[in-house]
């Protein structure tokens, strides 16, 4: 009986207060969308790290004619030095998983093929390339072992870790996703303030009802529950809509577009949306209940 009464009061309250309810729903939706984007961005970075760190290689560039590497000092790597590097790599398994040799001509040809649609492909000169050993590691973090073994060794021009190039990209993505999270936190502050204002305004417009409830001896619970439920319903609706937007973004933006355009990298998928959805929805529910409890304590005399 009391449950039906409380639910009736709640629906009435929501109906009489449509504009405020809609504003809470929309602001919650946008803030949860931003928060979700930030969280998904983090997961995208993690996904790409997993994907790329398995594939990154350490390149040991050798000295060729007119080499650009200062360490070469005008010399050219001899066959004996090449064999020496080869046997040293053989003796280092693990962390060396496998390696292959790429000559300057092959590297130049591969580059021209990759960038055939770009001015880079036609402007590049063979001099920018070198013979190299491409080494893949069992553990991407073991780069230092390779670097210390080969940096400065006879015939070696430069040891380069692709991971360092990737890390610059990942830190850029990190900054972007953290910015989204920071914006989302500002929006969450807006949500909390808006909820509090809505409750204050509603408590004021319903002071007659609550006054009578107090007078006939309704418990604090009965008086406060409609306010809490209204806030909770509006914010849950907003967060569910926000998750819906995230779903659409990943479904049509990432899975439907980016993944088909960029085949050589890994992207987040639906599973990631479902993984963050409970955090977003549950978090906003806790926030709604806490905010209304604190606001009611201050503005609703019982």
């Amino acid at each position: 009986m009391r449950l039906t009464f409380l639910l009736g009061e709640t629906t009435n309250g929501l109906r009489r207060n449509v504009s405020m309810t809609v504003s809470v729903v929309l602001v919650t939706m946008i803030s949860m969308y931003l928060l979700g984007l930030g969280l998904l961005g983090q997961r995208q970075v993690d996904t790409m790290k997993d994907y790329w760190y398995d594939r990154v290689q350490v390149s040991i560039f050798l000295c060729v004619d007119k080499s650009i590497y200062p360490a070469c000092a005008g010399t050219v790597t001899t066959d004996a030095q090449r064999a020496q590097i080869r046997s040293q790599l053989d003796s280092m398994k693990p962390p060396v998983k496998e390696y292959f040799y790429e000559s300057q001509d092959e590297a130049f040809a591969r580059f021209k093929e990759q960038f055939k649609n770009s001015p880079l492909g036609t402007q590049a000169t063979k001099r920018a390339f070198a013979d190299s050993f491409r080494v893949s590691l069992t553990d991407a973090s073991k780069f230092d072992v390779i670097a210390s073994s080969f940096q400065g060794a006879p015939g070696v021009g430069k040891v380069q870790d692709q991971k360092q190039l990737l890390n610059r990209f990942f830190s850029f993505m990190n900054v972007v996703s953290w910015s989204a999270i920071a914006l989302a936190i500002l929006m969450v502050v807006c949500v909390v303030l808006l909820m509090a204002t809505t409750i204050r305004q509603t408590a004021f417009s319903r002071r007659r009802e609550t006054g009578i409830m107090r007078l006939v001896g309704a418990s604090n619970f009965t008086i406060q529950v409609p306010f809490v439920l209204e806030t909770l319903i509006a914010s849950l609706l907003g967060s569910v809509l926000g998750v819906g937007l995230l779903w659409a973004t990943v479904r049509y933006g990432v899975s439907g577009y980016l993944s088909t355009e960029m085949l050589d990298t890994a992207f987040i998928g639906m599973a990631d949306v479902w993984a963050i959805a409970p955090i977003v929805v549950g978090g906003i529910a806790v926030l709604a209940v806490c905010t209304s409890a604190v606001t009611l304590r201050r503005y609703l005399r019982v």
Partner: protein, 251 residues
């Protein structure tokens, strides 16, 4: 039923106390007028019974319990045993007469079947049979006050507090309202009515307590007080805890 024991109430930022050393006892089943000019402390007296305010010193006992010491979670239980009526009716304008009266039971979680039975009975007792589907604005002032009284007594409280219930009504309507209150009192309900309408007091002669600047200046029984037979109902204030009976209440 209600006992004020040297009660003083001071409001902050006020030069003199609203009530000063007031001691008065109201017995079960009595009908008591509280008279005095505006600002003499009538409303404060009623607010202290309802625990809307706590006394600065002294104690207010309702059914033997010191309400000033009641933990705040038990205050609703106290108020369930006290009906209240005001000068301005305080009806909910968007609810029908039926819904206004039922509201008092719904917020207490009473079963629907009980509400459907009790609401028409109560409306009949205050003389509003057949008007349950009207909205408050379709009623006269006297009828609105009857609705307010019905809402106050629908839960059958042993005490009814009325703060200037006839203040907005003309003399003949006031007498009708008084007749309703008298009928409720005859059913065993203790009534405390604050008023400054001498005509009312002279029309239905009952005990009169007069306050002047927060002090009790007159207490005289103008009518006969017949103690009602001991109630066989369970104590409606039972949930408040074990009553602390005072010597003068044990008789």
């Amino acid at each position: 039923m209600i006992l004020f024991d040297r009660v003083t109430k001071e409001y902050p930022r006020s030069t003199r106390p609203a009530l000063s050393e007031v001691t008065v006892e109201i017995r079960r089943g009595e009908f008591v007028y509280v008279v005095g000019k505006s600002g003499s402390g009538k409303s404060t007296l009623l607010r202290l019974v309802l625990q809307e305010d706590r006394p600065t010193s002294g104690s207010v006992l309702v059914a033997g319990r010191d309400v000033g010491r009641l933990p705040s979670r038990k205050v609703p239980l106290l108020r369930r045993g006290i009906g209240t009526v005001f000068q301005d009716f305080r009806l909910l304008p968007n609810k029908t007469v039926d819904a206004n009266v039922a509201f008092a039971l719904q917020v207490l979680g009473k079963p629907r079947s009980m509400i459907r039975q009790v609401v028409p009975e109560t409306l009949e007792m205050v003389g509003l049979e057949g008007k349950g589907k009207r909205m408050p604005h379709q009623l006269s002032g006297g009828e609105q006050q009857r609705v307010a009284i019905a809402r106050a007594v629908v839960n059958k409280p042993p005490i009814l507090l009325a703060d200037e219930p006839t203040g907005n009504l003309d003399p003949s309507t006031s007498r009708e309202i008084l007749a309703v209150l008298q009928r409720i009192n005859e059913g065993g309900t203790t009534i405390v009515m604050a008023t400054h309408d001498d005509e009312i007091v002279n029309h239905l002669r009952r005990r009169v307590i007069e306050l002047q600047d927060g002090r009790l200046v007159r207490d005289e029984a103008l009518g006969s007080y017949v103690a009602p037979p001991p109630s066989t109902d369970t104590d409606p204030f039972l949930d408040l805890g074990v009553p602390v009976l005072r010597a003068d209440e044990q008789s």
